[in-house]
Structure formats: C-alpha cells, structure tokens
Amino acid sequence: MSDSQRRLPAGGRLDRKQKVSFTFDGRPMWGLAGDTLASALLANGVETVARSFKYGRRRGIVGHGSEEPNAIVQLGSGAATVPNLKATQVELYEGLEARSVSGWPNLDVDVIALLGVFARFLPPGFYYKTFMAPARLWMTYEHFIRKAAGLGRAPQNPDPDRYDKINRHCDVLVIGGGPAGLAAAREATRQGSRVILVDEQSEMGGSLLSLGGSEADAAQLQWRDQTLAELEASVDVLLLPRSTAFGYYDHNFVGILERLEDHRGLTSPGRPRQRLHRVRARQIIMATGAQERPLVFANNDLPGVMLASSVRTYINRYAVIPGQRLALCTTNDNAYQLALDWQEAGCDIAVIADTRPEAEGVLPRLARERGIDVRTGTAIIEASGRKCVSGALLAPIHAGGKSLTGPATPVECDLIATSGGWSPVVHLSSHTGIRPIWDDEAIGFVPGPHADGPVAVGSAQGIYCPLACVEQARTEGAAAALRAGQGAGESSSPSPDIIAALEEPAQALFLVPHTKTTSRAPSQFVDFQLDVTAAAIELAAREGYESVEHVKRYTALGFGTDQGKLGNINGVAILADTLNQSIADTGTTMFRPAYTPVTFGAMAGGEVGDLFDPERYTAMHRWHSEQGAAWENVGQWKRPWYFPVAGESMEEAVQRECLAVRNSVGILDASTLGKIDIQGPDAAEFLTRVYTNSYLKLAPGKCRYGLMLHEDGMIFDDGVTACLGESHYLMHTTTGGAAGVLGWLELWRQTEWPELQVYFTSVTDHWATATLSGPNARKVLARVCHDVDLSDEAFAFMDWNSATVAGVPARIFRISFTGELSFEVNVPANFGRHVWERLMEAGKEFNITPYGTEAMHVLRAEKGFIIVGQDTDGSMTPDDMGMDWIVGKNKSFSFLGKRSLERSDTRRTNRKQLVGLRTVEPNEVLPEGAQIVNTPDQAVPMAMQGHVTSSYFSPSLGRSIALAVVKGGRNRLGEKVFCPLADGRNVAAVICQTVFYDPDGERQHV
C-alpha cells in the first residue's frame, strides 16, 4: 500500500504524478488522475456510501459502472449542483465536492435505521396499497418519504452552464466500445460505412479496460489499442467517448448524451457542458455488453460485498484493493480471473466457493494449481459483520441449487465478491416492441429479433467468450454495412489475435438457499436501491401477484434510479421459482429510456431564455416599445396591450384609449392579422366553398366578412376577404389562426378539389397595418393621402382602394372592428414605422391616440363582434353566435360544414347561444369564464346554463358589459340569471342583446 491508501504500488490506468483533492460528505480526501469517485472512495477506505431507502441499512459500493445501485451522490452546491449521479461514473477532478444523498443526520448515525420507522411504514405492497387508498394518504406520505429517503435535491437556481444539441446521420451507429463494439465498428469502417462509435466511459475498450497483466490479457489490450488506432485514423469514424446512448426510438433514432466537461469541474464557463446528439442511423449495432449479476444471499447488502468483475476492475484499472482477504462465490469460470489477479496483486484469498458440483475448466484448474482453496458444490449463504464484512458462512449446496446439503461453516474475510453470471444489456431496445427472450444457454434475456431494428453483438447477445464476441461482431459489422449500402457483406479483418480461456458452462442460480427459510433468513436483497428482498417477492407471489409487471409495482423492484439493472433478472427468476414456472414464461419487465438519467439542460440545449420560443415583432414594434407599451402575447406575436401614460393604471389607460376612438380617433397596429394572398381563375369558387357565404359576385374593390367552419359545422376562423382584382383576393385570418387556415385551404385544394386552379401564399409578414378608427379617422387620413377621394360616397364602407399614404403605395380597407369610421392602411412592412409616424403627426390636431388589444377588445364587445377562440370554443355554430345571416343557404356547392348545420344536434333550440349580459349592479365586472345558473338557490352541483365569454367595463356606456353563451339564450332576453363566483357571491345579471353600443350601426357608415 502507498500513502496510506488501499492502492497497489504500480499498475492501473492512472497518472500517479497527479494527485486530485476532493471531499466526500465534507471529509477531505485525495485520489489520482484517472480515478472515478468510486475508486477514489475505495482507495480512501470508505466503506459506507449510502443508507438504504427503506431500512436505513449501511450500503457500500457494489459495482463499477452504470449498474451501481448504492453509491448515489450529489455534486457541488448552489445553482450548478448535480443530483443523482453514480459515484462509479463520476470522473474525479480537483476540488470535487460529493455528498451522499441518503442518511440523516449523516451516514454514520442514521435515525431511520435507529428507529426502524420505514420498515414499519413500508411493507411490501406499500406503494400499491397507498395508491389504491384515497389520494390524500399518498400526499401525506410522499413529502416525508422523499425528504427522508432522498435521492438528491434539484438545484433551486438557474443552471449557470450552457448546453448544446446536434443532429447527426451515419451509416452504422455502434453503441458500446468494448471488444464487440470495436470489432463491429472497425469492420463497418473497412466496408466504407460512415460510423459513429459511442461509449459511456472516458475511454474506449469496455471490459478490456478491466483486464490484468496476464499474457492473454496483454494480447487483448494490444488488440484494443490497434483497433482503436485504426478507427481514430479514419475520417469516416466519429468516436464519442463519455457519451451515453440513453434511448433508442423509432426508425433508428438514438439520443446520445455526451458529457463534454463534467470530468473537469462542476461548471464550464464559456464552453458547452454537455451535448445532445440526435442521431439517425441507417443501421444500429448494439454492443452494449452484459452486466454481472450479484448472488442473492443473506446480508448480501453489507458494505464489502461486491461484484467479482467490479473488484477485478478496481484492482486492474484503478490499482485499488478494496479489502485484505477475499472470499469469492461464483456460478461460473469467468470469476476465477478475479481470484488469479487478486493473488497476483499479492493479497490473500480465503476461499473460492463454486456453486457447481464440479469445476474442471482451464481457470479453475489454474486456481487450484496456484494453491487457492477452491470448494465446489459450495456457496456463501450469509455475510457477517456489523459495519462491513468481517466473515462469511459457507455451506454445501445441492446440485439443483435449491437446498443445502450440510451445515454451515464460517470463514474469515473482509471482502466478498460474487458472480451469478451475466445479464445482457437489452435496455435500449426493449421498449420498442423488441421484447427480450430468455436464452437458457446464456442464462439471460437477449434481444428478440427485429427486421429493421438494432442488431446485438457480443455479450449483449449472450455471447460471453471474447473470441466468439469479436468473430460475431465482425460478421454483423460487415452485414450492417451491406444493409446500409456499403461493401459486399464479407468481413475483411483478419482473425483477431485474441487469446481467451475456454469456459465451462455456468450454473443458473438466482437465490442462494439458507439454513432457514427465505422468510426467516436474514434479508436476502434483490434490489439494493429500493430494499426489495427475496422474501418480499415471494410474499407478493403468495398474495396473488403473478404478472412480473404487477410484482414490480407491488414490491417496487426495479423502480429505482438504476431501473433495477442488477436486481431485475434475479427478481424475475425468484418469482418464476415461487410460481413454479419457467423464467421464459414469466418474462421480464420493460426497461424504458433513459438508460441513465439525462439532464434537463441537455434536453433543452440552447432553447432557453430568450431563445425558448421565437418572438414575432411588427414593423412598428420599436415605436410601441419607445412609448412604453405593455405587451400581450398572441401566439408568438408581441402586440401592444395598452399604452399607459404618466403613471396610469391599466384600467385608466384602456378607458382613455376607448373614449379616444369613440370621440375622436385612435390608431391600432393590426399587422399581426393573418394575410393570405389567393390567386387563380377558380379562387372565387374556392372561397365560396370554404366560407359560409358567397364570393362569386364580390367585385374588385370590395371586401366581405366571412366565417370559416370545419366539416362539423363549428366556427374556427373569421375575417375579411378583399377582391384585389380579377381572380385575385386577399384573405384576412385571425392572428392566432393564420398558419392553421393556410394548411386548411391547402388540404382541400390538394386532396378534394385538385381540379380547381387556385394558389395560396402567406403574406402576413409582407404588410404592416395601421388602423385609423374614430369619427376623425377620415380627416387624419386625408392629410397624408391625396390621390384617393375618401368621402363616404366615393369610398364606402367595405370598399378598399389603392392609394399613396405618406408617399408610400398602400392598400386602404374601409372595414371596422370598433363600429366607428375606420380605415385600415396597409403598406409594405419596411415602410410600416414611417407611415405610422406620419399618421401620428397628421392626427396630432385630433389628439390621435394609439390603442392596444385590450381597448380593441372592449370596443368590439360593445358592438357584439365576436372573437373566434374567445367567444367561440370549437363547439359553436354560426347560428349559436347569432350569425345565421352570413350563412349562404342557397349556394350551389355544399360549403364546408353546411351539412352539419342540419344535424339533429346542431338544430336543437336549447343550444348555448350568444347573448349580452348586463349585471344588475352596473360596476360589477363579471370574470370571464364565470358559470351561469338560473338561481343560486339550488343544490351543488348546480344546473349550468352557460358561461361568460367576454366581460369588460365599458367607458362609453359607464357600466359593465358582457357577452355570454346561454342555453336557448336568444329566447330569454330580459331574464335574470346568476353567476356564482369563487368568493361565494352570486352576481345577478340580465340577459340582453349582444350589441350594447350604436345598435343600428350608423357610426361606421358616416
């Protein structure tokens, strides 16, 4: 040991000259460059890294990669803090601060463990029973459970880092950079494919990085270096280390999270911290490897019980010795390599307990030759120790693995390594319909076949021998290249120069029997993170839960942040055994993305803050901004809501703006209205089919208002269409509906009426629109427009004219949404601000007043003009809105929605109809959305009669006004109704006509 660390004097993929300081739960420690947080913790002799979720039991590091269930840490503090990381995947950097996320007040003194509160609180089935109980019960527990159990805390402040996203395409995507992945990637590259090779570790090599110093191991490492060098030299290969393919989606779409800066520090000023690669691959090769299964025995959760392959990794890759005296329990030959490496490192081996009746493979024989105590037909049935392992109980085990054949004997050790075989990592594809299938030979679930989906190679396909892995991966690499259109399908690589010991068959063993029954033996843990024991799974089966998905939910098996990477297969097998059925028939639960957690930052990428959503500005936007306009968001548009002057409240500003329009003149930026230029000899016919009224006789120079219905007869848009010339129209749509209307027009033109010659172009952004409205509108316009006669006789209501306004060619539409004399001046957008400012100057004498959307809403409501989407909600017909006058009943073509207006439901007389409401108390402004009832003196739930759709205080009338939809409302004029409000009051109102102001419509015709 060196420097009081549990570190071998030589070896490991470390930079021994570079010491790295860090803290764990506030304790200062150091490691070496090349360490993970987990290897550094082990080097520092840290045994307890967590307290368990339910029982508060001490937990230590079990694994060395993404399978780790216990060593969950939170890094740093403040805005950049990162919760829920596995210490086995955190690369050590100078100054790293890590905290365990469990244990209160600290890992050493855990109140939950002392009180045993959770054990009583959370029996198996707790979640299930709680969810089935009244919802409030869960609300009570949830807060407490989350706080006490804890898997980290989300940061409270904005993330200081920025993140990146990139789209990529390739011929062959290889997921996993172990021996199979390297071989497949190299082969595909040689065939001429563009290849992306992705691996979650800091360097490529996968399991090869865990190899020791034997001759065979050295040869394999050399093969890795050569293969990697060839890939690095190719321009057609993109290598993505430190990158996790976290999800496989339809049509070979894969999400990859690349950790660009996580290994350097908590934040990365000036550089993107992580990058999300959105990869579309022609072919995908899953070389995701296999995870070692722990053996399930009594007290198997004590710190000091680890996976055999992980112990081997810590010795060989990190030069860390996690104990002094090792006891190994295995069902297979492979784990003997650990014993040999362990011995090579100069440490003690207490025993190898091999659960198989005999072990005569190359590695077991080598172990015996080296003097290691190998006992076949023997298992470790229990770990002993208080804070960590101090011994193990060995017992002879029956060949079938279901019972013991003799008494237990103790053995002294401080580290127990176990290997229950391997589970192929099938997670990526298992949610796409490619259900994993059980393979008896591989003793694991392997990916099922899929025509166009990913192909698994190597141990991901249940092939564990490195030689066979590489052979198969090469073949599949060439085949994938061929399917992607490259090469001839024949692999070109020479046979790899890999030596690997042949292994004898492993034993399928998922629960090591104990001298006591499962329910009476000390806990045998299956899922470490959520404290699920073998006894709990048996209990679930006894209580009648037979489906693996139900047992998962009943016991919480696999529900942790590790998604049960270690525990699921053992759990499924124990369930199968309890139910006396095969594992194949029992099946496995479905793994879903993400394979490991993905930060929200990476998913959002650059689309945060100002870039979250585009903002659309009109040509006059800056002018509004200079006037201090308050803004309303309408879709992506920013529209002036009102223009407050000198300390005005919104209410005061809106009243002033409304009165200005009624009494003199106002000006509104109406540029955001959708504008669609429509041309073609059949344009009029087309318009007549999509609107309720006819456009066949609309002459050039004239405008017409129209309602657009869906085929179900419901209003979905409205607006004014002008005939610009022969076969040329300009359609106005609502601001929010513009894109949808254009798609709607194209749909009918392309699918049903291809014979109509008509063309559509969106011109919304081409024009800026200033609407002059009020009795003085004509006088203002006349000052800047001299080439057109603006008199009512020459330029009537619903006419439009080409004109020059402030020296700019313009289209002027005499249409009105306020009920006042109005001119809508449209100019090419680039001239928008110029014309607007000239109109303001021209209107000075009349105290021209800019008004916003709120005043516009009040003014139109005074006139009973509807706003589609506010007074309608997708269930309103023209008749419901009292707009039957606009429905052309005698048009020769059955316009869209017409037939639906004759359905029994749309003909009902008690449909909700648009009416006006006057509150009895004139200053009371009803809230929009308020429900309407006939009388408040009735039991709850009351019989609803309708609701308020628009409601304002009308300054012109000096009282409140409202529009509402009320069942059979038009026949109920004068009736008193009530709106029960959230504050308990019932506001009385009288049903009236929808037009509150200038009912004869004289003002707009002057």
Binding site: Y249, H251, E711, G743, E746, P754, K898, R899, E902, R903
Partner: protein, 100 residues
C-alpha cells in the same frame, strides 16, 4: 421520432417537418345533403383504429407543404411506403384489423 419519405421532395425527412392529418382515403361525399344524419356522422367522426397497417395522410408542413399518404404499421411503426394524393392505394395491402 419517425422518418418520413415525402413523395414530392423525394427524400426521407424528420417527423418534425410534418404534421399528421388523420386517416387517408376519406372522400368527401359528393352530395352531403342527400345523406342521412347517420351517414354524414360516419363520414365526420368515424375513423379506423387498426392494429397493423394503417393508411394515413401527412402534411409536409415545414417543407414543400404538400399532403400525401403513408402506409404505416401502428404496432412496429414501420412505414411501408409513401404515395401522392390521388394515387390508388396498393391493392395488395393487407388491411389492419380493428383493435378489439
């Protein structure tokens, strides 16, 4: 995320460029007024929900803005082909059966 072949652009493009537009080959009745409420209701509201092959209309809304039809398997999401509006669907296609 799907990858869809636009028969007009003649390219595979990302789903983000497209908008789904419901079941394909629903012809608007020539004379709606002659239909009973039930017949009109069938046209309006009733759509297949097959487990298996489904013909559906897509709009290349962020591309060429053309509507076209797609044959997609609703279980595997595999798209067998895309074809222009007006082209007859392949007679050989096996109809997906309704999900029971």
């Amino acid at each position: 995320m799907l990858q869809i072949y636009c028969p007009y652009c003649q390219e595979l493009r990302e789903e983000e460029e497209f908008s789904p537009s419901g079941e394909a080959h629903i012809a608007r009745p020539r004379d709606p007024e002659s239909l009973s409420d039930e017949q009109w209701g069938d046209y309006l509201f009733f759509r297949k929900n097959p487990r298996g092959l489904h013909r559906e209309m897509w709009h290349h809304s962020a591309g060429c803005r053309r509507y076209f039809n797609v044959e997609r398997d609703t279980v595997s999401y595999v798209i067998a082909r895309s074809y222009p509006i007006g082209e007859d669907p392949a007679g050989a296609m096996v109809e997906g059966h309704d999900h029971e």
